[in-house]
């Protein structure tokens, strides 16, 4: 379908979660390694709380910035139902990293729609491999719910076509420039995300056995 030399990563969640920032950091890491990269969003109105899906494509030369359905190499979901919403963008059998936290929109609270009972099971039933963990709880344990996007980046670190250190450098560089006091806690969040991903992969393997 799409060019084999291009890596397609889809990062999804809701407005205000740091989805676009996380994808930008990922793009910067790819560029640091000499890749061409394009990043694009479908973000709806410039308001909080709506659906956000951020496409990142990198490789020797990227043309269209958009990932076609059925061609993503990796799906990173910052919210449970949002991960389910976009999983048809993946290649068959591809990997999903999923924050199991549920952010319930007003339309569900008002009783107009139901929140899916078990998004994780639905994604797995489609044949995708899922590493699921509660990134919000990890971020809160570290003292700030906004660390969630660094936790998610940490979870991605072992699934990229480059060493984890490149991504970590890209994160820390950003924080050293803008919020130096946040560098250490972000390093911790990154490692916590990596550990959560590894634990989730292990749990999955154990379940299978």
């Amino acid at each position: 379908m799409s060019d084999q030399s291009i890596t397609n990563i889809l990062v999804v969640g809701i407005g205000g979660q740091g989805v676009m920032t996380a994808t930008e950091i990922l793009a910067e890491a790819a560029i640091a390694l000499g890749h061409d990269a394009k990043k694009t969003e479908v973000a709806g109105m410039a308001q909080r709380g709506g659906v956000v899906s951020s496409h990142l494509r990198f490789g020797p030369k990227v043309l269209s910035p958009q990932i076609m359905a059925g061609t993503a190499d990796l799906l990173v979901g910052f919210e449970s139902a949002e991960t389910l919403r976009w999983c048809h963008y993946l290649k068959p059998g591809a990997l999903v990293l999923m924050n199991t936290a549920r952010l319930v929109p007003p339309v569900v609270d008002l009783g107009l729609y139901d929140y899916p009972d078990d998004p994780l099971a639905e994604i797995r039933a489609r044949g995708f491999e899922v590493h699921a963990f509660d990134a919000m709880a990890i971020a809160l344990e570290l003292g700030d719910v906004r660390l969630g996007n660094t936790v998610m980046l940490g979870a991605m670190a072992d699934h990229l076509p480059f060493p984890p250190g490149v991504l970590l450098d890209s994160i820390l560089k950003r924080f050293s420039a803008r919020k130096p006091h946040m560098v250490e806690v972000n390093r911790k969040a990154f490692e916590a995300g990596r550990a959560a991903d590894q634990a989730a992969a292990h749990n999955k393997a154990t379940e299978a056995a």
Partner: protein, 623 residues
Amino acid sequence: MAAVMPQFVPHPASSRLLLSGNEAVARAVWESGCKVAAAYPGTPSTEMLEVISTYPDIYSEWSVNEKVSLEVAIGAAFAGSRSFCCMKHVGMNVASDALMTLTLTGVIGGLVIAIADDVGLSSSQNEQDSRYWGRFAHVPLFEPADSQEAYAMTKLAFDFSEKFQVPVILRLTTRINHVKCLVTVGTREPHLGAGFQKEPARWVMTPAGAGKRIPLMFERDKTLRAEAEISPLNTIDNGSDKRVGFVASGPAWMHVRESFPNAPVLKLGFSCPVPLEKVRAFAATVEKLVVVEEVEPLVEAELKAAGIECLGKDILPRQGELAPNVLKPAIAKLLGEPVPVGLTAPAQVFPRPPTMCVACPHLGVYYTLAQIKNLTISGDIGCYTLGAGHPWNALDTTISMGASMGIALGLDKGRGESDKDKRILAVIGDSTFLHMGMQGLLDIVYNGGNVTVLLLDNRAVGMTGGQSNPGTGRNIHGQEAPRVNFAKLVESLGVKQERIHVVDPYQLPVLFKTIREEIKIPEVSVIITDQPCVLIDDYKKQKPYEVLEDKCTGCGNCVDVGCPAIHVTRREKAIKPSGKEVELQFVKIETSVCTGCSLCVQPCAPDAIVHADLTKPMRLVRH
């Protein structure tokens, strides 16, 4: 932006930077030695001027509307300086009055107008195609396909504008404005303005003067078409698979290259006027010619009129983006090949429309409006357009910037039999009022309309990210600026002093009483709410609230506020003493995001909402 933005030292020349289309255009505007840049915020164009405002040696301003922004740019160009103005697609509808005569005078200093089309309607009320303006106004139009091209074409556009003394339109789309890719940047080259030279026959467009300029415009059309024929912006990729050749522009060209790597493609970067002879020669080299353009079939129609056989909107959609998932099946079908099908269908998941923010002052307004019956509510463009949604359903019309005023007057004067006792109310924000609402209010006053106007002053252009306007008391740099006094302004437009109220939208009983009283009075009233947008620095957070579980009776009054921090944890059916069945909704507050506005506390009958005990560890609300 609300905060004072730091002036930064721009990245050095030859840096390769990850830039959005908006950032790339801003960099190019600065490098081109542009002296004046003006705009009114509008998605997806807003960041162009935001970024320009951070560069040194360039005057930038948020104008009150797009027409004024273009006029400011025209003045600077008449003075011989380079100038820039940008807007979203609908902005040019407002600015076009100036554009259509500007084309007759032309310019001295280079003038570039960037128009951002919201192809796919991510944040707009329509999906019009700004390439029409190139044809309508007889001006050249460039279409970049990504950030690097947006950067390069902006610089070329300034040179071109000066050389041919004509404003140049740069047509962007959301898929350029908001896409980030690598851009190699250069350095600023200062440009000295020649100064304004008096020349009434050129700058004063009387009928006689304008009549003499029209033939010059037609002569210029010929020159521009000849330029397009030889322009390096129009390139041909020969390709090996001659079954289908493409003529494409903008992001659609990227999608064509992605989808059909072996196909011959003529890329139109300088797309108006269309280089007809170049296309004709290209068409002769391919079996079938397909025009891929977003949104309207403009190039297609012009090719067909010139006798060049082609396909376009007969096989491609006339709405939305022409991404690979649209192009591939359409071309497969054309070639009689099997149509690729999606691998898996998308999962069924609830919609997640944008919501008003936690503690937004508009929540108080819409909660109140939803309680009042017998209203027709004429709405406007801004965050408060969301009042049309759940749970309020308290906005009945939205058309264009400032239209709430005129439409309210029309609803009043054009009452049908069934509207005889209806109260007409208009809702408009501070920035939209200053953009184009003032004139409408003056019209209501002058013509004796019976309309109650709710002017929601939240001291920001909220929907686009909290930019400043003449009502915020700050300029584009966040520095102090003269601030409009809305109460005095509407009084001077003729609203009676006793019909003007300034209320706190967090004081629900006062707001309710004021609206109820004013809608009964058969003349124009203006109710101004005066609390800031929660996303700007003026907003001060208060102590958050929580729900005492054992005290919540499930009445659901707080749910009707529509604050996204309130979650229903449990529903139960109950029979009232009257025998009526009701659904109880027990709630929790997401204390970690609550900022203590108290809107939900006021309608809570059992006093179950109290300040949160922050000594306890914060818990996430789960379902």
